[in-house]
């Protein structure tokens, strides 16, 4: 479904040139949930943004369903692929109601039956009619994230790029969102690329996972091998250890 | 307080741009030039028709009235130390014509030109200057010009020529420098800040009484008023009416008004179809609140006067007694086809009292249904539009008046020998307003050639009557008063109606 090859990207120019992505390559099968983990600043979000088309100065190749991706966001790409952002507070326009946010893409793509589609979509993400005319500040973080997911799904894309969709949320809310994502995938056969720093989330939701370090993919493995000790790459191991290690260390004290 | 041996003058120096006698315009420069340079003759400040000797000890008018011969004193010296000769005088006058700058205009009106200047203005010997008139005119006029116009100042030819650049006869240098024989020498001039004049000790009349004259740029009248009452300024010129009025009651100050030959007037353009109609002009004449304006606005700026010829000349007729008469004006307007009035614009200088006159006029015009909008601007903008004949009404000030001669006023305000646009007689306000009367023109031309004073005066009276009956395009309202406020400490200051006020006899306690 998605193939990324030798993807490279730099920011800045001259002396401040900063190579953020280096020969990144992976492929994702249709219907798969692909995880992307790594420490802060390793370039996870950047990969997603390249795929989505938010950056245009990348080098390398990216293709979806065999079709190479261009550098511009075109209508087709919008219909195929959407993204959910990490921060539920920043990804919704503070002065737009839920209804405005959800109907806008429909209007842009000149789709019909807007009211009904919005209603359906809200139900799908577990929000009832009463949320339709609320502003972001009138909703909790979890509810906002549901709206963001609804907005991403309203154009009926095949691929969803998820950039740490739950890391700003409480555990209890995180569980709801993760369940929702799992449910949507099961129902509509979506393909996800999920960026996270929580290995627990990876194990819970992903089929395969790539580990990033300083702009490179250093390891790609089945997510099951994280829990059963199958990770061999030293960096992956250190991540797994860190997730558990404070318990060991503390126990030692 | 100011030092005892210095005269400190506070005034707005914004319009003091050039000191070159050939090119300096405006009134402010007259007072400066009169003290830096000498003239051949001087007019008596108390009676302008009296001409006193100055550099010229005596003069003779040829019996045919076609030439003037002046005999210069032998003891005058320039501030450079050079002796002043008739050659300097001739050169100075020729220079004005050759440069053809602003100040050449009175001379050109007598028929002089750059071409004939050297021939007609000649130094016969070191002490004799002969001026031959190119065409018949009243030689008294020429004599007055010699005594009042900036252009008649006598320059130190060698000093000026030593600063000549590209054959400009020293014009660039003289903008900011002076080379004269007057009682004071220019020490420093910082434009729009201050000008210092220091006594020239070898002045031929004997040194001036004060060591130094300082002119200071004080643009705000109120500041001037404070300075006068605190004694930081000895003489304030160009103050606003209310401040003068206040100082009139101040024990430390003396208010000294001097009547000038210039008028405040309302002018209309007869190119405009409305004002081409005599009835409309007559209506306008009846829509000016002469009394109100002169009582409420004009104190210290002017005195009521409704004739084009200035007050105090033998030929001047008494005021015709025009009055605000709205019903009559309305009737006239109705007759002319404007029963409901019309719209028009008044161009006016944004300074008092002009802007105030315009505002008052606007008010009375409105009573007759004439809706006038005011466009205020700098002199440049207002008179520029007038020169281009692009205006409807202008409230302004003008009318020659340096020379105490009816011709000076009439030439400036009424005379218009050629009314075509192409003639571009921009220096005549008659032309600017497109007022054209063959008969008046003929009378003016004749009168200035008339050698008999009584006949001449009679002709000038006739002109005034004709102007009244033909309803001229320019309606004078007041004759200008130049009011200065003096500190009580200042003595011997006599303001000159021609603005050539001499400071050489001024002293202080």
């Amino acid at each position: 479904m998605i193939t990324v090859n030798e993807l490279a990207l730099s920011f800045g120019s001259g002396g401040q040139r900063n190579k953020v992505l280096n020969e990144v390559g992976f492929s994702v099968k249709e219907g798969e949930v692909f995880g992307l983990v790594g420490e802060s600043g390793s370039g996870k979000s950047t990969v997603l943004r390249c795929l989505a088309g938010l950056y245009s100065h990348w080098e390398g190749e990216m293709a979806i369903a065999g079709q190479p991706l261009g550098r511009k966001i075109d209508r087709e790409r919008c219909r195929l692929m959407q993204m959910v952002f990490q921060d539920p507070y920043g990804s919704l326009h503070p002065r737009h109601t839920v209804d405005t946010a959800l109907s806008e893409p429909l209007k842009i793509h000149k789709m019909d039956n807007i009211g009904e589609r919005v209603r359906q979509m809200l139900l799908k993400v577990g929000l009832n009619e009463s949320f339709r005319y609320r502003y972001p500040h009138q909703m909790s973080g979890g509810q906002r994230q549901r709206v963001a997911i609804a907005r991403a799904l309203i154009l009926e894309p095949r691929i969803l790029l998820l950039d740490e969709p739950t890391s700003a949320l409480d555990v209890s809310v995180q569980a709801e969102i993760l369940n929702l994502l799992a449910e949507l995938r099961a129902r509509d056969g979506l393909t996800y690329i999920l960026v996270t720093h929580d290995l627990g989330v990876v194990v819970h939701l992903c089929d395969r996972v790539a580990v990033m370090q300083q702009g490179r993919i250093v390891d790609t493995l089945d997510s099951a091998s994280l829990s059963n000790g199958g990770a061999t790459h030293p960096y992956t191991r250190s991540l797994v250890d860190a997730t558990r290690s404070y318990s060991r260390e503390m126990a030692a004290v | 307080a100011t030092p005892r041996d210095q005269l400190v003058i506070g005034m707005n120096m914004n319009n003091l741009l050039s000191l070159d006698p050939a090119g300096a315009t405006g009134n402010d420069v007259l007072g400066v030039v009169a003290n830096l340079y000498d003239y051949l003759v001087e007019l008596d400040p108390h009676d302008l028709s009296k001409v006193h000797p100055a550099l010229a000890e005596r003069w003779e008018i040829a019996p045919d009235g076609m030439s003037l011969t002046l005999t210069l004193r032998g003891d005058a010296r320039f501030q450079s130390g050079r002796a002043l000769t008739a050659a300097d005088a001739a050169w100075s006058l020729q220079r004005v014509l050759k440069l053809n700058l602003a100040m050449a205009s009175p001379w050109k009106s007598y028929g002089f030109s750059a071409g004939n200047a050297e021939r007609l203005i000649q130094a016969v010997d070191a002490r004799t200057l002969r001026i031959t008139l190119p065409e018949p005119t009243d030689p008294k006029m020429v004599l007055y010009t010699l005594g009042t116009s900036v252009s008649a100042a006598i320059l130190d030819r060698d000093t000026v020529l030593s600063h000549e650049k590209n054959g400009d006869l020293g014009a660039a240098w003289l903008l900011t420098h002076a080379a004269g024989s007057g009682p004071y020498a220019l020490t420093e001039w910082r434009a729009k800040d201050a000008m210092l004049l220091d006594r020239y000790d070898a002045y031929w009349r004997g040194p001036a009484k004060l060591r130094r004259v300082v002119m200071r740029h004080v643009p705000e009248s109120l500041s001037l008023r404070f300075m006068i009452s605190r004694g930081d300024v000895d003489l304030a010129a160009g103050m606003a009416g209310p401040d003068i009025e206040a100082l009139r009651h101040d024990a430390s100050a003396v208010v000294q008004p001097v009547l000038r030959g210039t008028s405040y007037y309302v002018a209309v353009s007869m190119k405009d179809a409305k004002f081409a109609d005599k009835r409309v002009r007559l209506a306008l004449r009846k829509l000016i609140d002469y009394d109100g304006i002169n009582k409420a606005i004009m104190p210290h700026y002017g005195v009521a006067h409704q004739r084009p010829v200035m007050i105090g000349l033998a030929a001047t007729l008494p005021d015709p007694g025009y009055k605000l008469d709205v019903p009559a004006a309305k009737k006239l307007l109705a007759e002319a086809g404007y029963p409901n009035g019309f719209r028009t614009t008044i161009k006016v200088l944004s300074d008092p009292p002009m802007i105030n006159i315009a505002t008052a006029l606007q008010g009375t015009l409105a009573q007759a249904g004439i809706e006038a909008s005011i466009q205020s601007g700098t002199g440049n903008q207002v008179y520029g539009a007038m020169r281009d004949r692009k205006f409807e009404i202008v409230v302004g000030r003008g009318g020659g008046g340096v020379e105490p001669h009816p011709h000076a006023n009439l030439r400036a305000l009424v005379y218009n020998p050629d009314n075509r646009d192409a003639a571009k007689l921009t220096n005549f306000q008659g032309w600017r307003t497109s007022f054209h009367s063959q008969e008046i023109n003929r009378l003016i031309e004749q009168a200035v050639r008339e050698r008999d004073p009584d006949t001449q005066n009679a002709m000038y009276r006739e002109v005034q009557q004709l102007y009244d009956s033909e309803v001229g395009a320019i309606q004078p309202i007041s004759q200008m008063l130049e009011t200065v406020v003096l500190s009580k400490r200042v003595h011997g200051y006599v303001g000159h109606p021609s603005a050539t006020t001499h400071l050489r006899d001024v002293y202080k306690d």
Partner: protein, 306 residues
Amino acid sequence: MTAAPKPDAAPATPPSPRAAGPATAGSALRESLRRALRHLLLNPMTLAGLIVILLLIAVACFAPWIATHDPLRQDLAATLQAPGAAHWFGTDEYGRDTFSRLVYGARTTLYIVGLVTIVVGPVGLAVGATSGYFGGWVDTLFMRITDIFISFPSLVLALAFVAALGPGLEHAVIAIALTAWPPIARLARAETRTLRKADFVAAVQLQGASPLRILVRHIAPLCLSSVLVRLTMNMAGIILTAAGLGFLGLGAQPPSAEWGAMISAGRRYMMECWWLVAMPGAAIMVVSLAFNLLGDGLRDVFDPRS
């Protein structure tokens, strides 16, 4: 550079059972308006500002009924009369009633303020938002132009403009507007630059929205509040600049009653006739103070930190 402002700091309250109340578009808007209004009204300073401005508007609207005399009616026989029963605030040098002129002057003042705001707000917002959103050479070009207008001596610009078009209120207003938009543009640009990186902009980009749509529907409304606040703060400056132009004889033309022009004309008489300057001066001060107070209050309403 300051740290990027934290996203809308509204704390996530624990989902309470009554969160699912009925809500419609209208009520949501009304609700936020009501809050803003209440906040405005609760602050005594802001309230005072608001009242003065409302009063000003009322005075302007009902000038003919409030004024005791015809503001243009001259009476050269009764000039410079001190305040008294016949003329509450005295008369000016043409014998016109100062109080009535002051009342009618409210119209002119409002007109100036309104017109400048109408010109400056949209121009500044459009230039700033476009410049900030596109960046690159568009930004460079627009910012150079803004720089030119900022470093142009404002007086020259105003004078030149008035000189070119002739003095008059409209021209003075345009001239003031010409000098007043660059700061607004800079403000809008700075705001846009932080917004441009916001996730919700990325989200609409991904939905295929055109730059124009993003600018108009997403970015401009968010810049609007700070622009609006800045504009209300500018009002005082605008009135004073107009007064300053009036002082130089370039503002409103006689006989129109404009406060700045009234001061400028009255200053010649101010030693003897204090009311000629004091009355319009006080009016300018009170009104611009009111606009300032309102601006401060608005800022508090819009500022999420407060």
